[in-house]
Amino acid sequence: MTTREQLEVHHKEAWFWARQCCRFQPDLAEDVLQTAYLKVLEKRALFHGKSSFKTWLFSVIRFTAIDMATAQHLHVSKHLGIDGIQLSEVTNSQKEDDAMNYESMINQLPGRQAELLLLVFYHDMTVEKAAEVMETSIGTARTHYDRGKKRLRELILASQLKQAI
């Protein structure tokens, strides 16, 4: 199977992962996915077969998103004069829109916790595979995973209570 064919197989999942890495900003996600595909097709990112193609592709997308978010962060800081602004803060205004807005709730989690939960629950990966995507140790991944689950459960409960009232 050629690289192009493999990209076609995983394209839909890759798109949603790119979107999630960009805190659900579709325009940025499109740029990230384009850049990641370019890296893959031009062999600037090489697949050595140590993990599955999907795991590797997700890792390329994640690091591309980090690079582009950093660039965007600097751009925003330059123009608005705000230091330390985070991508999550850009979308925080969405939180108030809907009490059970899944994306807003994910955005309220710290980045790594959100990524781990998405990889495990949304993309059906094991914590070990998720750790490979994030290029972190399994121990660190498990810590983020447990904290993320606890925090998200609290958010879900708070949202359910809010809806009940």
Binding site: K12, L33, L117
Partner: protein, 101 residues
Amino acid sequence: MKSEEDDLKDFFLEMKKGDASREVPPLAKLLLQQKQQKLPVWAVVAATINIILFVGGLWYRSLQPSKVVDARLLIETQSSVDQNSDMMTWETPTDKLLTNF
């Protein structure tokens, strides 16, 4: 009985259902856009500055007097200096001593 993670599984299941109706940009469209990507702005600016400097340099050189003329003048001056030079006719004061009588 619900397991501890069922509430989270339900949460992400609902999220997936919501995403199922979202439009996914076709792979071909993304790859086509990559091919059509323009040069970065800084590259265009750098190329423009280079062209302006090159053309400006040529124009400036055209305003300068020709160096060929300078060289000819230098040669002419040098030759006249050589002709009028006393060095050509100068003799040492003791030169006569070398003369054989």
